[in-house]
């Protein structure tokens, strides 16, 4: 095993996918000559050629729809929408075609499509480029939604997704690309059904996904030194949600904080909190807390962006108030 960056893990996953199956091809904005906005497909154009590494015009609705069509037509497309911010233009194709055709056609068609996109804020690129909307996608029945937070998941989830007969959406938090992590080769191919306890604890459960995992772990470290043992649960998969792992943790700790970079109202954290309440109500020793983004367009200046986003300090504060400290 060794340390690699999240970016390199994504690239390794993509390369293995392209090498292992001739039907696999990569399509998206600047994935070819430019090598990918986050350099996840650097060198691929030379290695695999323009037929299988396709730069697209800036036409999100069309090239995502084309991905759906190609999947229906027998190919195994991987579509890269540069960021979730631009995927809004393709929501119609995603909701009304990708997620719906199988069910609506009475099971006649399946759409083996993988769509990858960056998500999240933290790089001061202002409101229109800083959305965290995985929660919207997790609302849509008919697709699978993944949030790889670790290097191993970044490396393994794409390959596992390519085994799925139905559409899979992978959200890679933009902040993670340059971060290094330990790649656990033995875990490949990764499972796509279960959440993971990244740090065991007994007093409180910190439940999160994607880019916020590292903030939760940092908070857990701070809490450890105050004698509070926090368990950190990485959801990994937003749909279908593995609520049983979450409940096992909450039943042990009796307290839960859900951390989600989406805006608080109607956030994915709200769904997790509701499911905890519905099933583990009698195990709760306090209300489920949520740490989400302040409900404003994410501002450009760093001090405002930091104030708007979930932070380890906010998580620690929530734990303190829950524990009556």
């Amino acid at each position: 095993m060794g340390k690699i960056t999240y970016r390199e893990a994504v690239r390794a996953g993509l390369r293995e996918a392209l090498q292992s199956n001739p039907r696999v091809f990569l399509m998206g904005e600047d994935v070819g000559k430019y090598g990918g906005t986050y350099a996840c497909s650097k060198g691929f154009l030379d290695e695999f050629g323009p037929e299988r590494i396709r730069d697209t015009p800036l036409s999100e609705s069309t090239f995502v729809g084309a991905g759906i069509g190609a999947a229906l037509g027998g190919m195994r497309p991987i579509v890269e929408v540069m960021t979730v911010n631009f995927s809004l233009l393709a929501l119609d194709q995603i909701v009304n075609n990708a997620a719906t055709i199988r069910h609506m056609s009475g099971g006649q068609f399946s759409i083996p499509l993988v769509v990858r996109m960056a998500t999240g804020a933290g790089r001061q690129v202002a409101a229109q480029h800083s959305h965290s909307l995985e929660g919207w996608y997790a609302h849509i029945p008919g697709i699978t939604v993944l949030a790889p937070a670790t290097v191993t998941d970044a490396r393994g989830m794409l390959l596992a997704a390519l085994q799925e007969p139905d559409p899979v959406f992978i959200f890679e938090h933009a902040y993670l690309y340059p971060l290094e992590g330990e790649l656990d080769e033995s875990a490949l191919p990764v499972d796509l059904t279960q959440a993971a306890v990244r740090r065991a604890g007994t007093n409180i459960s910190l439940i999160t996904f994607g880019g916020s995992l590292w903030k939760a772990l940092e908070a857990a470290d701070q809490l450890f030194h105050e004698g509070i043992s926090a368990e950190v649960v990485d959801l990994r998969i937003l749909r279908p949600l593995d609520i049983s792992t979450v409940l096992a943790s909450v039943r042990k700790t009796h307290r839960a904080v859900v951390i989600d970079e989406g805006w608080r109202t109607g956030s994915f954290a709200a769904e997790v909190s509701a499911q905890i309440m519905e099933v583990a109500f009698y195990d709760l020793d306090g209300p489920v807390a949520r740490i989400c983004s302040v409900e404003v367009p994410i501002p450009y200046p760093k001090h405002l962006e930091d104030a708007a986003l979930p932070q380890p300090e906010k998580i620690v504060q929530a734990v303190h108030s829950l524990m009556g400290r």
């Binding site: 009796h254 009698y282 195990d283 020793d285 306090g286 829950l322 009556g324």
Partner: protein, 416 residues
């Protein structure tokens, strides 16, 4: 009879306005004939009849706004009897809405959850887990100080109050006092903590007074060599992890229980002027509550249980006694009581029997004493065991046999 109702005229259309009837009362109408013209926000639409027959009644009037699904006319299908005309009331009855698609107005959105606001009076702010624990431990949350968010009562609060609750009684005397009367432990009764202590005291006083009044006590004591027991215990505990270690008190309890098999008369309850031997042996263990006060819950079937099992239930009983969360059954049916006051420095206990029991065994502290073994004077750890017994039920002879049985049993700790 067939009803002609306002049809759905568009996915978003909930009602239409009758422009005019295209048929009159008594007219024949064939399925597919235009029977009326209705106006929606989008357009005027001619509506066909889905039945063939004769128009019996026209319930709607032009210009009226009619929700989808409302009965607008009655058609007597061909060949059926004319029904007696439904009396058209003087003023047209309000057309009752039968449309299943009538969207039920969504319930008002739940009020935003009140965070720190106090819930309505009388309703306790307590977490679900804490409420569950409170019921399990028999703690009345009404008297618990909440430290959770907004003053809510948490698991810790319940646990802490349970642990502390026993302590709120004024310091009791050294004398082991009678267990409290049967029935749910009075500790759980309502009322301020303070007067609960007073009530506990009153109950103990009544029992002790009755005991002294009614029971002719005789007292016997003997000194027992604890050497073998203590050595055996030391070796045994080395083998056991810390969580399973034994205290010497457990040996004493087991010895008493096994001795009762040999002298069952002491394992009886005095009811209606007669001692009724108890088929089972439940040794009541006197537990001092930290700020005074005493309680003697039973360890059921004491004689049949291993030392390890006895130790864990001994620990459990002590913990719950001090938390004031004992089950009532445990308080009501010890068949004998054992009290050990060694840690308080007492050498010999002259105890008062707990009615309706007929005996009480007391143990003092273990002390090093000169002791003669095979003519040699050696130093041995010894303890004074004493018996208070009801002379109505047994005589000193049986009491003596009982005490020596305890002594013999303690010389073979391995067999306990």
């Amino acid at each position: 009879m067939a009803e002609f109702v306002m049809p759905t005229l568009g996915s978003d259309m909930t009602e239409g306005t009758l422009v005019e009837w295209k048929k009159k009362l008594g007219d024949r109408v064939v399925k597919g004939d235009i029977i009326a013209e209705v106006d929606t926000e989008k357009a005027a639409i001619e509506i066909e009849s889905f039945h063939t027959g004769v128009i019996e009644q026209l319930l709607a009037k032009p210009g009226e706004r009619i929700p989808v699904g409302t009965v607008m006319a009655i058609i007597r299908e061909v060949g059926t009897q004319a029904t007696p005309a439904i009396q058209a009331p003087a003023s047209p009855p309000p057309l009752q809405k039968v449309s299943p698609k009538e969207p039920v107005s969504p319930p008002p959105p739940p009020p935003p959850p009140m965070t720190a606001a106090v819930t309505e009076p009388g309703r306790l702010r307590i977490s679900p887990a804490a409420r569950k624990l409170a019921s399990e431990l028999g703690v009345d949350p009404a008297f618990v100080q909440g430290t959770g968010p907004g003053g809510a009562i948490t698991l810790d609060d319940i646990q802490r109050s349970a642990n502390a609750r026993g302590e709120r009684h004024e310091a009791g005397g050294q004398q082991p006092s009678a267990p409290l009367t049967t029935g749910p432990t009075p500790l759980a009764s309502a009322g301020e903590g303070g007067d609960r202590q007073a009530r506990m005291r009153q109950t103990i006083a009544a029992a002790m007074a009755r005991s002294k009044r009614e029971i002719p006590h005789y007292y016997l004591s003997t000194t027992i060599d604890m050497g073998r027991a203590m050595t055996w215990l030391k070796e045994e505990n080395i083998k056991r992890p810390v969580t399973d270690r034994l205290l010497y008190g457990v040996l004493l309890i087991k010895a008493v229980a096994l001795a009762l098999r040999q002298v069952p008369e002491l394992n009886a309850l005095w009811k209606e002027n007669a001692a009724i031997q108890s088929p089972a042996i439940h040794v009541g263990v006197a537990v001092s509550l930290r700020q005074g006060g005493l309680i003697a819950p039973a360890i059921h079937d004491t004689d049949k249980r291993s030392l390890g099992d006895l130790m864990s239930s001994f620990q459990d009983v002590v913990k719950r006694a001090r938390a004031g969360t004992l089950r009532s059954s445990e308080l009501s049916d010890p068949t004998i009581t054992v009290t050990s006051l060694g840690e308080q420095g007492v050498e010999t206990v002259f105890g008062v029997i707990y009615p309706p029991q007929v005996a009480l065994v007391g143990f003092g502290k273990v002390v090093e004493r000169p002791w003669v073994i095979e003519g040699q004077v050696v130093s041995r750890p010894v303890v004074t065991a004493s018996l208070s017994a009801d002379h109505r039920v047994t005589d000193g002879h049986r009491g003596g046999v009982f005490l020596s049985a305890i002594d013999r049993l303690l010389q073979e700790p391995g067999q306990l």
